[in-house]
């Protein structure tokens, strides 16, 4: 995983609550067996009409936001299906930061595995950022969002922060704990399935 670096772009406002992962990447694209190339399917049914023409009223189709890497949206973002394809699609499309008042649990955890930083901010602040016209800087190391006029601190667990900043391979880290896992297994009362 690539290490997370400072980001400075305009924000893309997606003014909706409870955006579910079925909308982020619809089911017809879950049949692929690779992780790459999901960006073109991001918000597919919102972005395109039945003839695969871009819908003009959807925010991602506004050229102004073309180079934005920061999505600002409503509460409970990423609810529903556990599909990590949703995160792969956001990342492949170019979003590296998602700001919302709250996230669904599985989606939130999936973000960190793919180098995306989900930031929880109080609703008032999120509303304000949605209307921020200039660039927003995201500084993970110092846990700060910087607009033209203000600096906004944000919370993140120290563990998740290191995973992102160092782009760590979590599995490699865990496999170094082999002796602890084996020790646990010796005492487990739960029988094998087969």
């Amino acid at each position: 995983m690539e290490a997370f670096k400072k980001i400075k772009t305009i924000v893309t406002p997606l003014d909706q609550i409870n955006v579910d992962t079925d909308q982020i990447v619809p089911k017809q694209f879950l049949k692929l067996i690779q992780k790459s190339g999901f960006g073109k399917y991001l918000f597919y049914d919102w972005r395109y009409d039945e003839n695969e023409n871009q819908k003009q009223d959807f925010v991602l189709n506004d050229k102004k936001y073309q180079n934005s890497k920061i999505l600002v949206t409503g509460e409970n973002f990423g609810c529903g299906s556990s599909r990590e394809h949703a995160v792969w699609a956001l990342q492949d499309y170019g979003f590296l930061v998602i700001i919302a008042p709250s996230f669904a649990d599985i989606f939130y955890s999936n973000c960190f595995k793919n180098g995306i930083l989900p930031i929880k901010l109080e609703e008032k602040m999120v509303e304000k950022l949605k209307h921020e016209s200039g660039e927003l800087e995201v500084d993970l190391e110092n846990q700060l969002l910087k607009t033209k006029t203000e600096e906004i601190p944000f919370e993140i667990s120290p563990y998740q922060k290191i995973i992102l900043l160092e782009g760590l391979d979590e599995i490699a880290q865990t496999l170094q704990l082999e002796d602890k896992i084996s020790e646990f297994e010796k005492h487990s009362k739960i029988p094998s399935v087969l």
């Binding site: 909706q16 409970n76 709250s102 649990d105 793919n114 563990y159 896992i181 399935v193």
Partner: protein, 471 residues
């Protein structure tokens, strides 16, 4: 202070614990299916890793599989490749697979308990959010993403922040338990707590309203925990639980000694404290019908499609979201729910496709016909459910009423196989999600119980199943 059931299971599975860090949790059972696993196996291959415990890992194919003409090659090439990839991966990594021709094939959350793979007090994960279903047996069971699937395959463990605990008490007795079902209980709960009400928590369902339920009904409750935002839902095991799992294909040899231990230990202590609580009284609840595009947008069958301002109670974001939902659903506020006409009926999914669901629905339709212009189908949750239903003659009741009787799989719950709604079609569905496009682009989903779906199939619109003459 005593511990909750969740805390007991959690504590028994902590491999490593450090302050201000997630804990490393051991996984007892890992269920795998074709859609969320290919990239995980590929990750193992790229890094030259193996599956640490193939003996704790079980795979089946359910999301993608066709529900008819199983003898023919799969027409959709991408589906065929995904299914073939699972076969190849299971062979390469030594994992037991129930493929499309296996008598044990079915929706992963239906076959786990049926085969005795699901056990009380265990941790169970799967790359599917409805893994919460297994919590009905007092297991800590939750959905994970594909990166976590890879992590569990490689290490049999997961890093996890300890969630908060949430007790949902279900009190009272339903007046007509055939017409007002477990589905109506869980939909009422979600209507009250909202789609994110359980976020960050593990729910324990308790109270007489829960202990009265059969195991299959308890699975319906736990299944939809995720629709209330909770990653897992738990019910303390009791004699019904132990009886259900006795003498299944993979029931452990030392089962009775395990039961003794579970009976003694797997319950929340009386002085334990939950971080959050909610109580639902069910004496007077009605059958539920969802009207919007998330499962909390639900009302009684006797009510009208709500006005956004009433639904949102002053919250502007909720109001906007209700307006959008009504537009998508093509519904007018004030319309009685019973006047909503439907085009399709789907009885299936990991929420409501077990034997009891099919038996109850068949009682409603016995000797009658599906309304003209309505297309109705039953997709049993597993090949075992299908076989048991056929032995009881349930298939004939459905077929005689002009329902289609299919092979098992996830089917139209998420429409990854050919079973989808056409744009604009309206469906009474026993599944769990009414999201935009979930059952097909432009499709409109109303979530209901199996008996409510059966009744709607007969009448061509929603009806209060309590008023029909059946059973």
């Amino acid at each position: 202070m005593g511990k909750t059931l969740f805390e007991k299971i959690w504590d028994a599975h902590v491999v490593i614990e450090k302050e201000n860090n997630p804990s490393l949790i051991y996984v007892d059972r890992h269920l795998v299916h074709e859609v969320t696993s290919p990239q995980a196996f590929e990750g193992l291959r790229l890094n030259n890793r193996t599956v640490r415990r193939p003996d704790l890992t079980i795979a089946t194919m359910d999301h993608n599989v066709p529900t008819k003409d199983r003898g023919l090659p799969i027409l959709d090439q991408t589906s065929a490749i995904q299914i073939h990839t699972l076969e190849k991966n299971c062979k390469e990594f030594g994992i037991q697979l129930f493929d499309m021709n296996s008598p044990n094939q079915g929706i992963v959350h239906v076959i786990g308990p049926q085969l005795g793979i699901t056990l009380p007090g265990t941790t169970i994960v799967c790359g599917d959010s409805h893994t919460s279903t297994h919590g009905a047996f007092g297991a800590l069971a939750f959905g994970i993403g594909t990166s976590e699937v890879e992590h569990v395959l490689a290490s049999q463990t997961l890093w996890m922040e300890k969630p908060k605990s949430f007790e949902i008490r279900v009190e009272g007795k339903r007046k007509n338990p055939h017409a007002v079902t477990a589905k109506d209980i869980i939909m009422s709960i979600i209507k009250n707590i909202g789609t994110a009400g359980g976020a960050g928590t593990i729910v324990e369902y308790s109270g007489q309203g829960v202990s009265d339920l059969s195991m299959e009904q308890r699975m319906t409750i736990c299944n939809m925990s995720i629709e209330g935002g909770a990653r897992a839902g738990l019910i303390a095991p009791d004699e019904k639980t132990f009886d259900y799992l006795r003498n299944r294909k993979y029931t452990p040899k030392n089962y009775e000694s395990l039961v003794e231990y579970w009976r003694e230990n797997l319950k929340t202590e009386s002085d334990a404290k939950f971080d959050k609580t909610f109580t639902l009284r069910i004496d007077n609840i009605a059958p539920q019908v969802s009207w919007g595009t998330n499962p909390s947008m639900t009302c009684d069958v006797t009510e009208h499609v709500p006005f956004p301002e009433d639904y949102s109670k002053g919250d502007q974001n909720q109001k906007k979201s209700a307006e959008r939902a009504l537009e998508y659903m093509d519904l007018k506020s004030g319309t009685p729910i019973t006047e909503i006409k439907i085009d399709r009926v789907f009885i299936g999914s990991c929420t409501n496709a077990r034997l009891e669901d099919l038996v109850e629905a068949s009682k409603v339709i016995k000797g009658q016909k599906v309304a003209k212009n309505v297309q109705a189908m039953v997709v049993p949750g597993s090949q075992m459910v299908k076989k048991e239903a056929e032995e009881l003659g349930i298939d004939k009741i459905f077929i005689d009423a002009n329902f289609e009787w299919r092979e098992s799989g996830c089917s139209m719950c998420l429409g990854m196989n050919p079973d989808i709604l056409s744009p604009g079609e309206r469906c009474a569905s026993t599944s769990n999600r009414n999201f935009e496009g979930r059952q097909g682009v432009g499709g409109r989903t109303h979530l209901v119980s199996p008996v409510m779906a059966a009744a709607a199939a007969l009448e061509g619109h929603f009806v209060d199943v309590r008023q029909l003459d059946w059973d």
